[in-house]
Every structure is written in structure tokens, then in C-alpha cells.
């Protein structure tokens, strides 16, 4: 048992750090700091640079574009990206759909979809939740009926509504859970379909969230024709794909490296922000203890994640224990945003989105937008299976209760 980095790991860290420093677009960094919403090209720009280097999908099987890195190297890579505040690679294609495709997809589906995901050419969104099916995902009602169209080919005719679809406004494709058999128990009648978002009958409607952003959407499906070959795995066995995907979603959700970076920023901010006695905020015993407390909690999560990673690299897939990572990871992310808001003091209140560009700064940079981030981050204990549902999963699957 050790956590020492071998000389080749140290060299890898240097290489990764240098690559980011030399290649991360300065324009994108500016865009990340601005109040303006990021564009599709913004999101894809770093992804495409990594793809050209062959680094956009480290966790994939090597034959499809994985890097073949060891667990340690992947860990170093995620740390270096977080350290440099790079824009995160969107998970929908790379870490959610791709494992489903290479596990359950046909050879043709893999050939057709994986390269574009890897190269940042196709934007994917996730059509899971519905207005009546959130925590109880298996109760979803979006209906897909098999028809033979005038062209003599077989299609699914899809009707229903999906919701909370993240960044669907940019999506070229979506992976959807649909009901293909309404007459069996809920989990048994679901299929996993890949839908071209430009298909006639697909409508994306924005949902504005409480901090004022447009991140999620309603997606309406009105007589959308989906070729049968766009179904992944067997008809009515989409729940198997869904479960596999959710486990991957949960393990990626811990965000340890990003939280470590967030803590580092919080420490810096609390050195420049003032306490009531006019000294640095980090000298305030109350605030200081909260930061220490959070750091300890994050260290525990980091080692839990490392244990999970070690398990994965020895061949075990992410299991139900990945629910621990989701719960603790999101609680820590939320706690970080609480402390950043507390650090901002009065300057947490200004809402500067939509003000003219020449309005100028209000308060210190570190306070800028922290309330919005705090509000927005409340979603993390709701999405990907709420933290209450995660506890149910642990109770049932891990503890056997």
C-alpha cells in the first residue's frame, strides 16, 4: 500500500502541465471569466485540442481512443486540469453514453458514434427525466411505438416530454429512455434510443434556473421518427443500459480534483478578504475552522475515490459504492460554494448578469458571481439521482437492508 508517484508519473505530470500551459486557448480563459454564456464552440474548443493530441477520452478502451493511462496517470491528469481551471470536458457523450455504446452497442453503432464523441464533433444530451419521472425514473412515460413507414423501413414513433435536459440547446444528438412496452413492470418495458435532435418533431424549450442561467431544458418529442437501428441493446432492455450509465455518472460526479482546486482558491480568497478585525479572513477562527473541516472531509473523499479507482483499474467496474462518491462529492461542492459566499460578505448580493460591459467591477473579483454559483450548485444534490435516492441505493445494494 503506497501512494508514491513513480518517476514516470512525475514526468507525466510535467508533460501534462506543460501541454495545458502551451495549448489552453487564452480566448477561452477570457470567456470563462466573463458573464456571457459560453457558446457551443467555446465548450468544444478545448475538447478538440485534446482530441488532436489523443487525450480527449483517457478512460476509453485504447481501441476507441483511450490513452491507456494507469489509474495514477488519470488521477494526475484530472488534477492538472483542475489546477489550470480548464473547462471540463462535457460528460454526456464522453463519460455517459460512450461506456453504454462500447458495452452494449453494435459494432456499427460504435463505428458510427464513438469517433465523433471522441473528437468533439457531436454534442450529446441525456433524455432521462420526465415531469412525472424524476427519482422514480422507471415510471417514465415517453412512448415509442414501432411502425413501418412509407419507405418500407422500420422506425420508432416517439411521443412524450423529457425535462432537465442539460445543454440540449446545443445538442446534435440525444440518448433517450423510452417506453416500448407499457404492459409489463416498469423497468422491463424501456428501450434506449439515440435520437437526432434535428429530427422533425423535436422541440427544445429553455428552463431558466434560479440564478438566472439557461443550462437545462424541456425536450418535447412529437411523432419523432427514429430508425430502429438507433436503438442500443435489445428492445425493452434499455434499463440495463440506464443503470450502467448511472453508475458511471455517479463516479464522475465526485469532482475531487475540482474541489481541491476550489479549496485552494478559497484559501487564497480568504487571505485577501478582510475579517471584522480587519485582518485576513483566514485568520478569523470561525472561518478558518470551517475551511479546515472541509479540507479534512475532502481528503477522506479523495482517498475513497482512490480506493474506487484502484478497484476499477483491477478490473471491477464502478459499483454501488460510487453512490458514496456522489453524495460526499456533491456535499463538498456545495459546502465550498457556501464558504465562498460567506467570504464575499456584503458583496455576495450584487447581481451583475446582464449589466452593460462597461459597468465596471462591483466589489472584489473573488465575490463576483459567488451567490449565483451557490444557488446553482444546489442542483448537485438533486441531479444524477438525488442524494436521498443514493442513500436508498447504498442501503439496499451495499448494506443489503
Amino acid at each position: 500500500m503506497d501512494l508514491d508517484f513513480a518517476p514516470e508519473d512525475v514526468a507525466f505530470r510535467e508533460q501534462a502541465r506543460a501541454f495545458i500551459a502551451e495549448n489552453y486557448p487564452a480566448a477561452l480563459r477570457e470567456r470563462q471569466k466573463s458573464e456571457d454564456a459560453l457558446t457551443k464552440d467555446d465548450y468544444f474548443s478545448w475538447h478538440r485540442i485534446l482530441a488532436a493530441k489523443g487525450w480527449s477520452t483517457p478512460s476509453w478502451p485504447v481501441e476507441w481512443g483511450g490513452t491507456g493511462w494507469t489509474a495514477t496517470q488519470k488521477y494526475i491528469w484530472s488534477e492538472e486540469q483542475a489546477r489550470a481551471d480548464t473547462l471540463a470536458i462535457l460528460p454526456f457523450g464522453v463519460s455517459m453514453l460512450a461506456p453504454v455504446l462500447w458495452t452494449f452497442g453494435t459494432e456499427e453503432q460504435k463505428q458510427r458514434f464513438l469517433p465523433d464523441i471522441r473528437d468533439g464533433k457531436a454534442w450529446w444530451c441525456q433524455g432521462y427525466s420526465e415531469p412525472g419521472a424524476g427519482s422514480d425514473l422507471a415510471s417514465l412515460k415517453t412512448r415509442a411505438e414501432r411502425i413501418t413507414a412509407d419507405d418500407g423501413k422500420e422506425y420508432y414513433l416517439v411521443n412524450g416530454q423529457k425535462t432537465w435536459t442539460t445543454l440540449a440547446q446545443f445538442a446534435d444528438w440525444g440518448f433517450f429512455l423510452v417506453r416500448t412496452d407499457p404492459n409489463v413492470k416498469p423497468q422491463a418495458g424501456i428501450s434506449f434510443l439515440l435520437i437526432d435532435m434535428q429530427s422533425p418533431g423535436v422541440t427544445v424549450r429553455p428552463i431558466i434556473t434560479l440564478e438566472g442561467g439557461h443550462e437545462v431544458n424541456d425536450v418535447f418529442l412529437d411523432n419523432v421518427k427514429v430508425p430502429v437501428e438507433n436503438r442500443v441493446f435489445h428492445e425493452n432492455q434499455g434499463w440495463t443500459c440506464a443503470k450502467a450509465l448511472l453508475a458511471h455518472e455517479r463516479s464522475g460526479i465526485a469532482g475531487v480534483a475540482r474541489s481541491k482546486r476550489g479549496l485552494e482558491r478559497l484559501r487564497q480568497v480568504s487571505l485577501t478578504e478582510r475579517a471584522d478585525d480587519s485582518g485576513p479572513l483566514l485568520g478569523d477562527p470561525f472561518f478558518r475552522r470551517k475551511v479546515a473541516d472541509l479540507e479534512i472531509d475532502l481528503t477522506a473523499l479523495e482517498y475513497t475515490e482512490l480506493r474506487t479507482l484502484a478497484g476499477e483499474s483491477s478490473g471491477k467496474g464502478p459499483g454501488p459504492e460510487s453512490s458514496i462518491l456522489k453524495i460526499k462529492g456533491t456535499e463538498i461542492q456545495q459546502r465550498l460554494t457556501e464558504l465562498a459566499l460567506e467570504a464575499a460578505g456584503h458583496y455576495g448580493a450584487p447581481y451583475l448578469r446582464g449589466l452593460p460591459h462597461n459597468f465596471g467591477p462591483v466589489g472584489p473579483d473573488a465575490a463576483h458571481g459567488v451567490a449565483g454559483v451557490y444557488f446553482n450548485t444546489r442542483k448537485t444534490s438533486i441531479y444524477g439521482g438525488s442524494n436521498e435516492i443514493q442513500r436508498n441505493i447504498i442501503a439496499k445494494m451495499v448494506l443489503g437492508l
Partner: protein, 381 residues
């Protein structure tokens, strides 16, 4: 011992609640805060003229209805339930608090204008370097002739874009963090040298960064003892915190009720989610936090009349309890609403945002815990 409200106080609550239900529902508020002005003069006029709310807590000899802090508490809670953005706290409680203590005829005239709705105030006290320290004041008021010249900058002045007047803390003597040398002035918002940059706040209000550039003030602008105003600043701030706690109770009630309603309606796994024990326990915890917050708000209201150190200690205790309740109840209201709680179109998120801002107003939970500790233990130790 009596925690009940008088017939007049109950009537005040009921008439305000009825008016707000008819005139200040979520959609009307939403339209008003999105409009360029950000507030509704008609609502303010109704509070002054139709409802007599603005005069309810002033003494009769000042033209008020003879009430006091209990009337403020009743009003503030109802305003909290409707997320009212118009500047009741800064105008009636803070400006009113200073002006009614002042002996000057000008001050008493201004109270008349508060009561009739023609004067609205914002409180310019916080400074960029000061965090929550009331006497960390770099703004200066230098004697000139019989009056003063005001220079300095104030941060996040809530409601300033709606105000006709500002109440400003400034230094007439002493060093930046001295307890001595603090004075308080009324400044006409339109006075030469008052520069405001207005912006919205995350809870639907408006605020300004304000700088004072050689603003000339007459002697009558001084509304608290020159150079010795800190005890008055502390007393008025404590009154403001008591009113803020009452507002928070209104916000917390709505967060709690809204969550009960939603979880009763929302069905998952073939049942109302309110039937799940883990959510029931959470809502019980929210309920307890709310009830404890209400109790502390009553306590704070009673202790406003105590001697200063007992008063401040009690107010800090209340603010700590309220701050914790705002966070716990607010966060869990969103959590139990699931994705719906995250949407801009549902009221619950707007209550959560207001609750969050209340946590930091006039000092965070940590600030008041520290103040409580120092007032409770330092003398004993």
C-alpha cells in the same frame, strides 16, 4: 407572561396580509422587479395611505399611530411572506430609528414624510474594507462653517435606487476603526457630489455603490450625537436586525408551507413523496428550525428594551438562530422540490434567495456568534 398580540396588532397583520394577497402576489412582484424602476410607487403609497403601515410604529406626538417594535415585527413578517422589495426596513426602522431619537425639528419633519410616504431611505453604512464591523468607517465628514463636507464610499447600499434620502455613517473624528468619532447624517439622494452606481441584487432587490465627493451638508443633517453616535448606531442596528429576523420568519414560513404542499402533491413510486419517512423527518426538522426562529424573534423584540449589552447579546443570539434556520430551511426546501426548486418560475427559489441574503445582512451567523461570545463570556473570564 404574554406572547399574544393586541386586537390592533392583529388587525394590522390581517389588513396588511389581505392587501398583499390582492396586490403583491408572485407574478405582480416578478413584473415589478423586472421593470426598470424595480419597485412600485403605488405599493408604497398604499402602505402609507390606505394601510397606515408606515406610521404604525411611530409615537403619536411624531404623527404615528403610537405603536412600537411589536408593530414593526408584525409588519416585517408579513412583508417577508410576500418578498416585498420596497424599503420598509431602511425607511421606517432605520431612518425612523435615528430620526425619532433626534431632537431636531428637521428630523421630526422627516418622520412626517416617512409616515406620509413621501420620503424613502437607504442606509449607507457598510464600507468595502469593513466587513460587518459597525465602527470601521473611512468615510469622513469634515466641519465646514456650521455644516460638514462628506467624502467617502459605501458599498452595497440596499434599496438606494428607490430612495429619496440616505442615512450615512461617517467619521467626524478618530481613526478608521475607533469607537469614538462616529456621526450619522441624513443626505439628500440628489445632493451634488452623491454618485451612485445602481445594480440589481440576487434576491430581486436593487442596491448601489455610492461615493460622496465633497458633499456639502448643513448642520441639520446631523441626526445623532456628533462624534459619539456609535451607541445609537448599535441600538438602531439591533432594531434593524430584530425587524430582519421577523422578515425572515415570514420567508421561512413560506418555505416550509411551500415544501409541505409540494411534497403532498408530488407523486413518485406510486405515492405522495410526503409519505416517505426520510422526507417527513426532514420537514419536521425544518418545522423545528422555523419555530425556534419565531421564538428567538419574539425574544429579540422583547429584549430591544434591555440595557445595551443585554440587548446586543440577545439580538446576536436571535440572528444566529435565524441565520441557521435560513440556511437549513432554504436549502432543504429546494432539495425537497427537486428540479422544480431550481427553476426561476417557481416562487420557492425566490424565497430561498431572500433567505440566503438575510443570513449575511447586518452581520453573518459567524459575526453574531462571535459578538454573542464576547458579550457573554469576556466579562466573566
Amino acid at each position: 407572561m404574554d406572547f399574544s398580540f393586541s386586537e390592533e396588532q392583529t388587525l394590522l397583520r390581517d389588513s396588511l396580509a389581505a392587501w398583499l394577497a390582492d396586490n403583491y402576489d408572485f407574478d405582480k412582484r416578478r413584473a415589478a422587479i423586472a421593470a426598470p424602476e424595480g419597485w412600485r410607487p403605488s405599493a408604497w403609497k398604499a402602505l402609507a395611505e390606505d394601510l397606515g403601515i408606515l406610521g404604525a410604529s411611530f409615537a403619536e406626538e411624531l404623527g404615528g399611530l403610537g405603536g412600537g417594535s411589536t408593530e414593526v415585527m408584525v409588519v416585517a413578517e408579513e412583508l417577508g411572506k410576500a418578498l416585498v422589495v420596497e424599503p420598509y426596513l431602511a425607511t421606517v426602522v432605520i431612518a425612523g430609528g435615528y430620526l425619532r431619537r433626534s431632537q431636531s425639528p428637521t428630523a421630526h419633519e422627516l418622520v412626517g414624510k416617512i409616515i406620509d410616504g413621501s420620503a424613502r431611505f437607504a442606509y449607507a453604512w457598510a464600507e468595502p474594507q469593513a466587513r460587518y464591523c459597525l465602527h470601521d468607517i473611512a468615510t469622513t465628514a469634515t466641519k465646514q462653517g456650521s455644516g460638514f463636507v462628506l467624502n467617502g464610499a459605501k458599498s452595497v447600499v440596499a434599496g438606494a435606487p428607490f430612495a429619496t434620502h440616505l442615512v450615512v455613517t461617517a467619521r467626524t473624528g478618530g481613526g478608521r476603526r475607533d469607537r469614538d468619532g462616529v456621526s450619522v447624517f441624513v443626505v439628500d439622494k440628489g445632493a451634488k457630489g452623491v454618485v451612485a452606481r445602481d445594480y440589481p441584487t440576487v434576491d430581486g432587490g436593487r442596491a448601489s455603490e455610492i461615493s460622496f465627493e465633497h458633499v456639502a451638508l448643513g448642520a441639520e443633517a446631523l441626526i445623532a450625537p456628533e462624534g459619539a453616535a456609535l451607541p445609537v448606531v448599535e441600538a438602531v442596528t439591533d432594531e434593524a436586525i430584530a425587524a430582519l429576523c421577523a422578515e425572515a420568519c415570514g420567508v421561512l414560513r413560506r418555505l416550509h408551507e411551500g415544501t409541505l404542499d409540494y411534497t403532498r402533491q408530488r407523486k413518485q413510486f406510486g405515492a405522495s413523496i410526503a409519505s416517505f419517512q426520510v422526507l417527513q423527518h426532514r420537514m419536521v426538522d425544518m418545522f423545528m428550525a422555523l419555530e425556534q426562529a419565531v421564538s428567538m424573534t419574539y425574544m429579540a423584540n422583547i429584549k430591544l428594551a434591555a440595557e445595551p449589552s443585554e440587548r446586543s447579546r440577545s439580538i446576536s443570539a436571535a440572528k444566529v438562530q435565524i441565520g441557521r434556520a435560513c440556511r437549513f430551511v432554504g436549502q432543504n426546501a429546494i432539495q425537497l422540490h427537486g428540479g422544480m426548486g431550481m427553476t426561476e418560475e417557481m416562487a420557492i427559489g425566490h424565497y430561498f434567495k431572500r433567505a440566503t441574503m438575510i443570513e449575511a445582512e447586518f452581520g453573518s451567523t459567524d459575526h453574531h456568534l462571535a459578538r454573542y461570545e464576547s458579550l457573554s463570556f469576556e466579562k466573566a473570564a
